[in-house]
């Protein structure tokens, strides 16, 4: 047992053990669903013959998912999308969500209700004090084939509000950057922000919002240019995500954009980490005293994140150690037994709110970083 593990309080260790039991049980259920002839998806039923083991017999716990080959993101590029629809959900309306800024063949994921469930679970983590129920929302980020608009809209509705949406097309942003059309990029950003300011100042009683970090920054700046602020237009709570978050950016945001720390009356802001595959990981509450450290915890058991060794993607690193982020999706709609994210970070210990592994310091995986256009929206 590492020093960090031994420092986990007894009650948290007990909760973590219970959570692991639930995860093992959930894993069995999901694997059986996806590999049973009656309920599984054509993709996994076909893949079953290549595996060299029988998932129905040989997967007895979450750790047994390591028997699967790594999930290749190429499998998600191109069709037919129907091969991913589990037979158990045949006939239900299906959404397709795509990855953000990709300008080639995008990665596509079919969804039936997962995005609603993810955001309902996320809703349970939002403090009512800062995200008042019944209040209206602003969604400032990419819509189009991304899931974000529908998910945030559902979150607003789930909490009794109405969502106003501003679109930003990240694929156009990627093209502008690649062409070096930075003036056009600025104008496009301004175009989006102008719409957001208009909605926020039009008497719609909007108190909550989603925004990507860069758009939040630009919105705060635009409001200040007009002599007002996020606080003054009535925003109480923000969740932000979609691109890389750093402690320094969070500090800047809290100190200079949101009117100070929330305990001193500033706007509440929570970072999130998520994608079309996994759902939404929540952040441990961020504090100045912790150096604005951002630690994410996946919505276990529906999704799991691990921090694994750069040399062996089946080996979890010790607490506090650095590795690549690996994610698992375990829902009855979609099964991902180990997808290597394009990110790296440090493994975080369980704590009382989320008694399972987390990941902090998330940043582009160093071997891929130079080839990645980060933070396009």
């Amino acid at each position: 047992m590492s020093a960090a593990q031994s420092s986990i309080p007894e009650d948290v260790a007990k909760s973590a053990s219970d959570a692991r039991d639930r995860l093992n049980e959930h894993t069995l259920k999901i694997v059986h669903w996806h590999f049973s002839e009656d309920t599984g998806s054509p993709f996994w039923l076909e893949k079953k013959s290549e595996l060299g083991f029988d998932p129905l017999k040989d997967v007895k716990s979450f750790d047994d998912l390591k028997k699967f080959p790594h999930f290749e993101d190429e499998w998600l590029r191109g069709g037919p999308i129907q091969r991913w629809v589990p037979k158990g959900h045949a006939g239900k309306p299906v959404y397709v969500f795509e990855t953000g800024g990709t300008t080639g063949i995008p990665k596509s994921r079919m969804v039936i209700e997962d995005h609603w469930k993810d955001y309902e679970l996320f809703s349970d983590t939002l403090p009512d004090e800062h995200f008042p129920r019944g209040s209206n929302w602003l969604m400032l980020g990419p819509s189009g084939p991304r899931r974000l608009r529908l998910a945030v809209e559902h979150l607003a509705q789930h909490r009794g509000g109405i969502c106003f949406c501003i679109d930003l097309d990240p694929r156009w942003v990627v093209k502008l950057i690649k062409k070096g059309w930075m003036e056009h990029l600025e104008e496009y950003k301004k175009h989006c922000i102008d719409q957001a300011v208009t909605v926020l100042t039009a008497g719609h009683d909007i108190k909550c919002m989603f925004a990507t970090p860069k758009l939040l920054e630009s919105l705060g700046e635009a409001l200040e240019d007009r002599g007002t602020s996020l606080q003054e237009v009535g925003i109480k709570g923000i969740f932000s995500g979609g691109t890389e978050f750093t402690p320094q950016w969070t500090r800047f945001c809290v100190e200079e954009l949101l009117g100070g720390p929330v305990e001193e009356g500033g706007v509440y802001m929570t970072p999130t980490y998520g994608n079309t595959l996994m759902g939404l990981a929540c952040s441990k509450p961020i504090k100045a005293a912790d150096g604005y450290k951002i630690s994410y915890y996946a919505p276990q058991p529906r999704a799991v994140t691990e921090v694994v060794s750069f040399d062996d993607y089946n080996q979890v690193v010790g607490f506090g150690e650095t590795g690549r982020v690996k994610l698992y999706t375990l829902t009855d709609e979609f099964f991902v037994p180990g997808f290597m994210e394009r990110d790296e970070g440090e493994r975080e210990a369980p704590f009382d709110m989320y008694p399972w592994d987390g990941v902090s310091g998330v940043r582009p995986f160093h071997e891929l970083a130079s080839a990645t256009t980060v933070g396009v929206y």
Binding site: E186, E221, P247, W249, F252, E256
Partner: protein
């Protein structure tokens, strides 16, 4: 170990994003740099007017005196830089360690920057064609011909996205301070040393600290400076320059493609100019935009190339502290291997000959860095691709081209040294719009006369000449 943190209008900002910098040759840790994102820069730029207001409290004469004092401090004093006191020797060592330049070249650039600042009154006199600087302060004034002239500052601060490779270019933003324009600088990630030390010298000399913003960071920080300041300069590649072409808010400095043109009347005596050619190619390890990348003549080009190759081809890698070191390291080894691959591509074209082939391997790879040894290439026609190439090491193409075609074919040329007595060629070269700085006679391309206008005259960039009329108001009846 020294830690450099961002400076927000004179106040240090404790960044949480700290990067370690190691010595390019030994791998020894030498410094820590903090950085900021675009949000902080954008926020600070809203206060840019305060930087100019602070400078306007001092007359231009006072600021010129402070600049001269700063020049002396920059070149000789122990100064507070980041969280440490920095001696000149430490500055030189640190700059060499992160840029790969030999230490004696760092000293030479130190003197160059100091020289410009210590002669700033003369330089401003030249750049303004003798204008009373109080007219720039006040916005209008009497020039001496009975006519009011007016110059309007176009920005409270000058933004600058500074380069990594050549500490000499910092001379271009130095005049901003005596012109009462604040500075928002994004230091190069490998060469933050000159801006930090220079800003410290200015402040120690009495210039208000709130005139300075130093924002180390990524593209995000640079982008914010460029979009939020009405006037900014950037240093980069040809693509960077093309990206900002025609944008009056941005002055883009890119490759120089500086050249030496030899007229038919003197080319038979080319050996008289060999020293000029060698210095133009080799100085500062060929890193500057003012280094010569092309020598054009109608005949004897192979002999000229062979003679230069004989002089610079044997130049080899020496330790950075060796006063005889002529070559700078590529601190990112992939830049050297990539450049080497591009040169090999150039050499594959028919009519192109590597005249330095016999002087050994050109790519020298070390544990933490790589070097490229000097190369001289002969091109039998300006049609060869290599005729328009410029690389960040001592590299020159000697191009065979009829004199009658020369000025039509040379393309953009930051510094053109024209060797001729032919009045027709002198007149044509003087009129050639492709040449920016022009030297007639044996003046190496790297030797600049700072008392001449230099590229991107900062006065034209920061101020706008305009009409300004004044008439007395009639006295009101009840006055």
């Amino acid at each position: 170990m020294i830690t450099l943190q961002p400076l927000r209008w004179g106040k240090p900002y404790e960044s949480m994003e700290i990067k370690d910098v190691v010595h390019f040759d030994t791998g020894e840790p030498i410094a820590k740099f903090g950085s900021v994102g675009g949000g902080i820069v954008a926020r600070d730029m809203k206060q840019a007017h305060k930087a100019r207001a602070a400078l306007l409290k001092h007359s231009t004469d006072e600021l010129i005196a402070m600049s001269k004092k700063a020049a002396e401090l920059f070149e000789t004093a122990e100064l507070p830089v980041g969280d440490s006191m920095q001696s000149v020797d430490q500055f030189v060592h640190q700059q060499s360690a992160s840029t790969g330049l030999p230490e004696h070249m760092c000293r030479s650039n130190l003197k160059k920057n100091s020289f410009v600042l210590s002669h700033i009154d003369e330089i401003l006199d030249c750049l303004t064609r003798g204008l009373d600087l109080n007219i720039l302060s006040k916005g209008f004034g009497e020039e001496g011909r009975g006519v009011i002239v007016s110059y309007q500052a176009q920005t409270p601060v000058l933004g600058a996205i500074l380069p990594n490779n050549s500490p000499g270019v910092h001379t271009l933003w130095l005049p901003a301070i005596p012109l009462q324009i604040g500075l928002a600088l994004k230091p190069g990630s490998q060469e933050p040393w000159t801006p930090y030390r220079m800003v410290s010298a200015f402040i120690q000399a009495g210039v208000p600290a709130e005139a300075f913003g130093l924002y180390p960071g990524g593209h995000d920080a640079g982008g914010a400076i460029m979009t939020k300041t009405p006037r900014s300069m950037i240093f980069g590649s040809a693509e960077t320059v093309a990206q900002h072409a025609g944008n009056p808010r941005v002055q883009a400095h890119g490759p120089g493609w500086s050249k030496i043109l030899i007229g038919d009347d003197v080319v038979d005596d080319w050996e008289l100019y060999l020293d000029v050619m060698v210095e133009s190619v080799l100085s500062n390890s060929g890193r500057s935009c003012i280094n010569c990348s092309g020598i054009w003549a109608s005949r004897h080009t192979r002999e000229i190339a062979a003679a230069i190759a004989k002089r610079i081809g044997p130049v080899d890698v020496l330790p950075p502290i060796d006063d005889n070191a002529q070559l700078a390291a590529f601190t990112v080894p992939a830049m050297a291997t990539g450049t080497h691959a591009m040169v090999q591509q150039d050499l594959s074209e028919s009519g192109v000959t590597d005249m330095t082939a016999e002087y050994g391997d050109k790519l020298i790879e070390r544990e933490h860095c790589a070097y490229l040894r000097p190369m001289v290439v002969h091109a039998d026609s300006p049609d060869r691709g290599v005729a328009m190439k410029e690389y960040m090491f001592p590299f020159v193409s000697v191009v065979e081209c009829p004199q009658a075609e020369m000025l039509r074919r040379i393309g953009p040329t930051l510094v053109g040294t024209v060797l001729t007595r032919d009045p027709e060629l002198v007149a044509a070269a003087g009129a050639c719009v492709d040449i920016d700085r022009v030297n007639f006679g044996p003046i190496p391309t790297n030797r600049l006369n700072w008392l001449q206008p230099h590229e991107g005259n900062i006065i034209d960039f920061l101020f706008r000449s305009r009409a300004y009329q004044v008439a007395d108001l009639p006295v009101a009846a009840n006055a």
